[in-house]
Amino acid sequence: MNLKRTAFYDIHVACGAKIVPFAGFEMPVQYGGIIEEHKLVRERVGVFDVSHMGEVEVRGKDALAFVQKITVNDAAKLAEGRVQYSAMCYEDGGIVDDLLVYNMGDHYMLVINAANIAKDVEWMEKNIFGDVNLKNRSDDISLLAVQGPKSLATLQKLTNADLSSIQYYHFVRGTLAGVDMTISRTGYTGELGFELYFPSDVATGKKVWDAVFEAGKEFGIGPVGLGARDTLRLEMGFCLYGNDIDQTTHPLEAGLGWITKLDKGEFNGKQVLVDAKSAGMKRKLVGFTLAEKAFPRHGYEITSNGEKVGVVTSGTFSPILDKGIGMGYVPLSYSKPGTAVNVNIRNKEIAATVVPLPFIKK
């Protein structure tokens, strides 16, 4: 397969990025180092190129009804200018993808995971009814995430839009760095931050990138790769599709009950989820920390008294807590914070404790 490049590829290379194949793209995994980039976002401001993410526009008279059918959250409650975290399910309740739904006024924009674009679009097309028009805009849109406590001060220099008035999970259409774009107060880091959607041509990308870095210079702004994106999201307990959620997990056991509106009317997977809820959950996605210097990784076994009780879905070193953290599915009886379990790391049982998510309090 031919790997795609975002509009920022040359910039990443010039910044000294280590480039890796990811979801069909050549993406920067790190520049200086993951820990340094992680702390930059927690303490100051960092910029992620996440242009590999997919965007699908939904238009037509039945656009809302379509979004309601394919997603688990209640899009009827989503006012224009607001964003909603949601998920698409198969009829069996398994997750097709998690996504953001934007109410753009005259249409909806669905922001989906890069690795799932083809699969998601196919699934959406299969579910079309009535007057619904889908347009896959993934190749037309660049997406930069500017995240960290100094993100607002950085971006405010570049726009007349009052960024401090944009609430979490709201967005505005505005001009920033001379480019018309969607300025969204969203992110995958747990920090104050914005995501900027704008046309994907290289010249526009360079214009925005350069302006953001000039504006953020006084705060020590820097580029951040996919490596730190993963450690940042994991410290917040945010799910990653393909690791923590997939077609074999459903939203309720993944801790996504808060976005799953079983009372909103019909939607894909609803009956299975209603049944699962009334039958009682069998397992649950939990977070855990490790007592000693050892790091859980995707696929390691979670054990208790030598018996396997679950599998690690995500795990890493937490730069903020300076210890191993992970998430995984365990039977309900092991899901209470404070429960002692073990993680099997290279045939050693390492003590772990179930903790409430997020791992770090913001």
């Binding site: 995994v29 820990i35 790091f295 890493t316 070193f317």
Partner: protein, 126 residues
């Protein structure tokens, strides 16, 4: 990237510095760059016998864990205790303060199987 000419190298990206019948072992500049931020190094007990090509420890980076393979056979004389407190030293100074173990060589003939700097550079495409 730097590959000192006085070291011997393995295909698994370790280096060995020989001084009489003692060898010092670490990972190469290339290896530390590929691993990224090192956050923990698990090293063997002093006195442990190791065989060439066998794993003698593990190195945890933020993204992944890797085995450390012994370039030669011998017994562990010393481990770098400083790495417990400052594992990032492996990234900062892979051939110096980032060394991992010292080993008493048990079979000097194994040295001829190791790569010199130019052969190692060729291996990693430098």
């Amino acid at each position: 990237m730097n590959f000192p000419a006085d070291l011997k190298y393995t295909k698994d990206h370790e280096w060995l510095k020989v001084d009489g019948d003692t060898g010092t072992i670490g990972i190469t500049d290339y290896a530390q760059g590929e691993l990224g931020d090192v956050v923990f190094v698990e090293l063997p007990a002093i006195g442990k016998a190791v065989k060439a090509h066998d794993s003698f420890g593990t190195i945890e980076a933020v993204k992944a864990v890797s085995d450390l393979y012994a370039p030669v056979s011998g017994s562990i004389l010393e481990v770098n205790k400083e790495l417990e407190k400052s594992p990032e030293t492996v990234n900062k100074d892979p051939y110096g303060a980032g060394w991992m173990v010292k080993i008493k060589l048990s079979n000097a003939s194994e040295l001829s199987e190791l790569l010199d700097a130019s052969a190692y550079k060729a291996l990693i495409g430098q």
